[in-house]
Symmetry: C2
Subunit: 666 residues, 2 copies
């Protein structure tokens, strides 16, 4: 079509132009994401030449369904149109816009104007009769019969012209004739894709832990059956997703020792991310954790507690992974006959062998990798955390996840894409559900605000749903190294109130482990390489505080969405403040966090009251849901505030942040 | 492709992603516009998974040429790439991006890092030798020979490893091997269109006049031969385009009389826009103006003076146009057998019959209309002003102008699209060269600035090139009705310094005709409906001032572009100020206009010196090129200004505006 001079490539008799359909990601290559049950706002520019009346409709259908459903578009000023529709189910949908020049409506609207001008209406009535008869041809049954009657009345030269004008301007004629528009010259837009996710895609609280550290005997490799005992406590802390590092057999060749040592001691368990050994590969369970049956029992127990398991999928192999013998063509080989390990020169990762996505049997590789998700789905897992997706072919992901979501729309995928923004966003477009972010490295007020506004106010918000993590087994940020308990609380409040998806790696988080590997932003004695014995109930632990925090999230709908954040200005750069609200304003939460984990910080915050349904000089009640230890909310601090500017003071150790419920005074 | 689960629709072994190519209008449906001789800046996002080295190249070719030309892209931070290329000729071009993972470069870059780390390089040398031999396979002749030599040196186990490392890191090896990259798994973007226009598309000064008012005998219908006598004066005023209202036979049926009266007197000449009579239609000359030969002589005289003719093309018919008998199916007919005239209820335009673009013979109609442009092109006309294009099918225009520009890239089209913005912009996208604008209705400082920034700083500037008109035969704005001479001067300076394309309808403009038809923004005794006798040299006329103004435009390259405008803040809302500069800063113009046509206005303007190559505390010379009556520039007012803030004072009647040439002091 580009620069075509072929007349048949153009619209011909179709005069309506349809343009700028929203939401639209990269011209429709990727779906915009929405969540089930929420109305989708569709916009488009629809116009034609001349003065004729243009009408537009929205058509939509679930992927795989032949029949389009249809609803009218509403015309806004300046050739803009909008419609809201609520998809019936999760999964892929498509929608398109149809627009046409409506000669009946143009006649109907013009008739009244001409009549008021005192023009001679005789020919106008004949024109109308012809249009109404044409509508009758498109109708059937009683509607066709009645339209023909009305046309005959318009055309009845023996009747009084005034009476015929009454028919011409009647509501009945308008409603009946516009039901059968002439769409033979209508313009149809290209279909646009939409992905409707289930609620947990947008609202989730993740708890990551290593089951092998939870055996009955301290220091010995734990099993699924043994680790089950901590699940009720995870549930009590209010989490909804239990995320396990890879559960597959751990490679023995080049196994890493404690603290990532080049050589492992015989008793070292190795990194769970070095997948595959004589015991099996991506579809096998590490026998030290138990059997596949044990895993299924673990999943069942998690589900019984109202939570879900998220499994870590890491598409890479230990050098003794069975794939290497079965599919040598899926890997790169060096001239000396050794396999090519992962590298980022001069760094080498000899315990990890990457797949070669350029290999000629790429279809075999892609299909096998997709079948890994399918295998675990059969074991009851519907949520996957994908390790380093940005080091695997991006086109592979686009195909794999589009196919998985088409077949299993209930599955969710969290991308561990700690990489440059364009790759991170590309993964989200097609079709990772959630993504890790740069949140960990945004610690000052203005950089947090700028980043969250990029994620929530730009086009990015159409497809990229963040999941904020204060810590991970890979990342112990300096803020937590230095801030310890107070710093951890600050990061928790920020993560779980800014983003509706958040997660922690525990119990390192609850116990605010803060000892770094010297010179690095990583944990010392990292659990990735050894079995830990955690003193989970150590005095000062954050378990009750986390429970209280997740209780607030679980009971306040405003915190269950991310895009709805609006920042409030503060006059002290150590204080960050923002509002979240439900569309109907039934739930409004104002969060204020002291970013300084050492000293009391005070200042004025300026609330955007006009977005909260509160007058600029009105008083309102704010209740700090985070102000005491009971998750049931009894005896909370409550204040009456007036107007936009109000004073806050937060003292680390006593109170690192407020999570205020805002209520209008009666 | 949308939501496809078909593995063959995806990239397969091609790992590079190409995204966000710029310029790109609506995903490549319409060409971005550029002007001949200027380098085109192309940007793209190019990236792949993993740590491998990605390389990208720009490919481009003129439309119809098979062979792509190629140049490297330069990598910028954050996966962004850019290239500049200068198209060889006017007309349609296309460009695309090719990106690939470059294993040789990755090896070459990694080699140095590993060497510095003291790693064992023996296997690395073998890998390199293999890659270089593969490059040799893609090369031929001496390059292939030399590459094989170099591979053998890398692979020479008997040689010293240090010496082999020298070969591995040699500039010769790098330059030679990267000349033959492995692009078997490269990714190619879709081609993007580009339209390169000749200079006059972007820099033009239009003078519109009615030849019939310039007969030898006052009050009698003038001819082309007679009207030729005023061409030298138009040239002296510095115009480059002589624009004539339609020159076709004027309809007699329902002809409008003076002041748009419903009935014409026998001697009334009618509106030139009511085209067609027994004397012919769109390919005929009104016999009152002369013959086709006379018109060709007129065109020749205009060209001889270094100007060009622009002809008005109005695709509508008087009720006696020959088309109506020849092609009754191209029109709409009413039930009483009469033809459907144009209407915008309750308004009727009985002297104008529109084409029915929904008629089944739309191809016949489109082809005939296109042939009208071709007919006048054969008579030597290369510029067309198109009347009301927004009341004709927008798809027709897209096809017609794409085809015309493909076959005759030298032709230019000015859209008289005084309509809603989306239609106006759509016409510009495909492929009107210039467009009338809302300039006439933007008279206050901030609304002028906002509108010009929309036209020059948003995506609109990629395809919409404005032409600013202070007046037209249809529009006498209240600003000129009230402002008369001073108001006209203000509008002239604004039009011709803000937009590189500007035009006037004369001599109404030079004589600042300001009498409106009562209650309207239109001229009384409009020349559209009668033959006028102009007293062109009436005292106070603006001819010399216009000559001086166009001389400034013609001799200052900064004013020959539109996008380069940067506004300067002023502390008096009656003063508007802006800078234009050439990219090399060789020519910098600062314009200041007093928008008040009655009173002296003074104030401070704050110049963006950092964009003008002048330090914030530096002094510089400003010379007002508009400050006296000689177009040769002798004896101009000149001031030394210092720093960003400087004072101006403008007195209507004496000086309505400054057009300063800015020069750094030696």
């Amino acid at each position: 079509m580009i620069l075509s001079t072929d007349i048949d490539q153009y619209g011909g008799q179709s005069r309506v132009i349809i343009d700028r359909i929203m939401p639209c990601i990269d011209g429709g290559l990727f779906p915009a994401k929405r969540v089930e049950g929420e109305p989708v706002h569709i916009e488009a520019h629809v116009f034609a030449d001349g003065h004729d009346t243009v009408v537009a409709a929205l058509q939509y259908r679930q992927r795989g369904v032949e029949q389009w459903q249809e609803m009218p578009f509403t015309e806004l000023p300046n050739d803009e149109w909008e419609a809201f529709f609520t998809p019936s189910d999760i999964g892929f949908h498509e929608f398109r816009v149809v627009g046409w020049v409506d000669h009946f409506r143009f006649w109907f609207e013009g008739y009244g104007k001409k009549l008021r001008e005192g023009q001679n209406m005789v020919v106008e009535l004949q024109i109308g009769a012809k249009l109404v008869n044409e509508a009758a041809d498109r109708a059937s049954g009683a509607d066709a019969y009645r339209l023909r009657q009305l046309a005959a009345e318009l055309d009845n030269e023996t009747a009084d012209t005034g009476w015929r004008s009454g028919v011409a301007q009647s509501r009945e004629l308008f409603l009946l004739a516009t039901r059968y528009p002439d769409r033979s010259r209508a313009t149809y837009s290209a279909p646009m894709p939409l992905l409707v996710e289930r609620e947990r895609a947008l609202f989730s609280s993740w708890y990551e832990f290593f089951p092998r550290s939870w055996g009955d005997t301290p220091g010995r490799h734990g099993t699924f059956r043994e680790a089950m005992r901590i699940l009720p406590e995870i549930k009590d802390m209010g989490f909804s997703v239990v995320y396990l590092p890879p559960i597959n057999p751990v490679g023995r060749k080049f196994r890493k020792g404690r603290n990532n040592a080049l050589n492992a001691a015989p008793e070292d368990p190795g990194s769970p991310w070095a997948i595959g050994s004589a015991d099996g590969g991506h579809k096998s369970v590490n026998p030290e954790l138990g059997t596949l049956d044990d895993f299924r029992a673990f999943v069942a127990r998690v589900n019984e507690l109202g939570m879900e398991v998220a499994l870590d999928i890491a598409f890479q192999c230990a050098p003794d992974h069975p794939y290497i013998n079965e599919h040598p063509d899926w890997f790169m080989w060096r001239p000396d006959g050794t396999i090519q390990y992962a590298e980022n020169p001069p760094k080498k990762y000899q315990d990890i062998v990457p797949f070669n996505f350029e290999n000629p049997d790429w279809k075999g590789l892609w299909t096998e990798l997709k079948s890994v998700f399918e295998f675990w789905l059969e074991q009851g897992v519907k949520i996957f955390r994908v390790d380093n997706p940005h080091t695997k072919s991006l086109e592979f992901w686009h195909w794999c996840l589009t196919s998985m979501k088409a077949e299993h729309p209930e599955t969710l995928y969290l991308a561990e894409a700690f990489t440059r923004p364009k790759r991170m966003y590309r993964l989200a477009k097609g079709c990772f559900t959630q993504s890790y972010t740069y949140f960990t490295w945004r610690n000052a007020r203005d950089e947090i605000r700028e980043y969250v506004e990029e994620l929530t106010k730009s086009e990015v918000s159409e497809y990229f749903w963040p999941n904020f993590w204060p810590n991970t087994p890979d990342i112990l940020h300096e803020y937590i190294q230095l801030g310890k308990r107070n710093g951890s609380i600050a990061r928790m409040i920020l993560a779980g109130t800014l983003s509706s998806n958040w997660g922690i790696y525990g119990p390192a988080f609850e116990l605010y482990e803060s000892e770094p590997f010297p010179g690095k932003e990583e944990y010392n004695h990292n659990e990735k390489y050894e079995i830990k014995s955690w003193d989970w109930d150590r005095p000062g632990n954050l378990k009750k505080l986390i429970a209280r925090f997740n209780y607030i999230r679980n009971t306040n709908a405003a915190l269950q969405r991310t895009k709805n954040v609006v920042f409030a200005d503060t006059d002290n750069a150590n204080l960050i403040a923002y509002v979240k609200k439900t569309p109907d304003l039934a739930n409004i939460i104002v969060t204020v966090v002291n970013l300084d984990f050492n000293w009391t910080q005070s200042g004025w915050i300026e609330l955007p009251l006009w977005q909260m349904g509160i007058g600029d000089h009105e008083s309102f009640r704010v209740t700090d849901l985070f102000s005491q230890d009971k998750p049931d909310g009894a005896g909370l601090d409550s204040f009456t505030w007036t107007g936009r500017r109000n004073f806050v003071s937060l003292r680390p150790g006593t109170q690192q942040g407020h999570v205020f419920l805002v209520e209008k005074l009666k």
